[in-house]
Subunit: 191 residues, 2 copies
């Protein structure tokens, strides 16, 4: 059964009784999505937090000039949403799209609140999830401030080898904050 994946993800950090497990399952919805499907559109209410079972998603921000900046990639076993807007009921700032055919599980904000209230154990799970997300972003800020584009690219290759296989260079460039043209010159063997 495909639910296995998401349950294993949760049981990495907390253990659940059968009752809690089935309650959790009752709060999530599975979705099968084709490539290039828009999971969240900027300006809309961000109602869902998504867990990626298979495939790959990308969240990105489009600025006033139409330039896209990739905020994050989410491949199998990652969670993704526009967290600020999901939690604070603000219109989404980001878009989220599938990069390939994907299967995801979603939990609505309402069900998320209910889950935390009825099974406080999930506070711990999400505390750890947020903690990991926070430290990951902080490290990214640190690297962005202190390294050159070339160093950041090399570091990305080492840190996310699986993502590298699933996304285009154009998307990696927009995650690193450089143009695809410049990334191309970085990749070019020197001499």
């Amino acid at each position: 059964m495909i639910n296995e994946e998401i349950l294993r993800n949760i049981k990495k950090h907390i253990s659940l009784t059968e009752k809690e497990t089935s309650f959790f399952i009752s709060l999530i919805t599975a979705k099968s999505l084709s490539k290039k499907a828009l999971v969240l559109e900027a300006g809309q209410d961000c109602r869902y937090l998504s867990y990626v079972a298979t495939g790959a998603l990308r969240s990105y921000y489009t600025d006033k000039d139409g330039k896209e900046s990739t905020i994050m990639f989410a491949i199998a076993d990652w969670w993704i949403t526009d967290m600020y807007c999901y939690l604070n009921k603000k219109p989404a700032m980001m878009n989220i799209e599938t990069l390939e055919q994907s299967t995801i599980f979603q939990i609505s904000r309402t069900n998320f609140d209910e889950l935390l209230e009825k099974v406080p154990k999930f506070e711990k799970f999400f505390r750890i999830l947020m903690q990991n997300a926070y430290t990951r972003e902080q490290l990214r800020v640190m690297e962005n401030l202190s390294s050159t584009a070339e160093e950041r690219y090399q570091s990305f290759l080492i840190k996310y080898p699986q993502i590298v296989k699933q996304v285009t260079q154009k998307q990696i460039a927009s995650y690193l904050g450089i143009t695809p043209e410049f990334l191309s010159t970085l990749r070019k063997p020197k001499v």
Copy 2:
């Protein structure tokens, strides 16, 4: 009593019984620090999470060339540490220093673990703390990727007016990822 501050901070998100309150108080230590005191040194074990009661602290990363990047500022009512290293028992990557005479409360990693275990309510508190920290960092990444230095500076002035009063331009520049010289040209009225 000076404890009031930190308790009010916690009670914004969870309510505590008297017993829980005194248990929490027993786990924290107050420290009074003069200006330019080193609260954490890169390479050392990051044993404490600090709450700033009064004053101002700054965490920063020093790269191989000696260039400093400010990771965050913490003024009154903020929490600060090298979170990744605190949680994962890794040697600190960052330094943390006071920018003025400050009073802080610290909780050691051991006591932090004990607190979460004995008073699970704190899972919720730290879930929210991490959640806010995560969304703040993600927004910063988004801005860093999509805005010019001038836009980021203006946004900083609006977002953190109190911090602006307590830190130097050199420190703001290193938070924005630019040189103080360039920040100076940005500030100069244009004709």
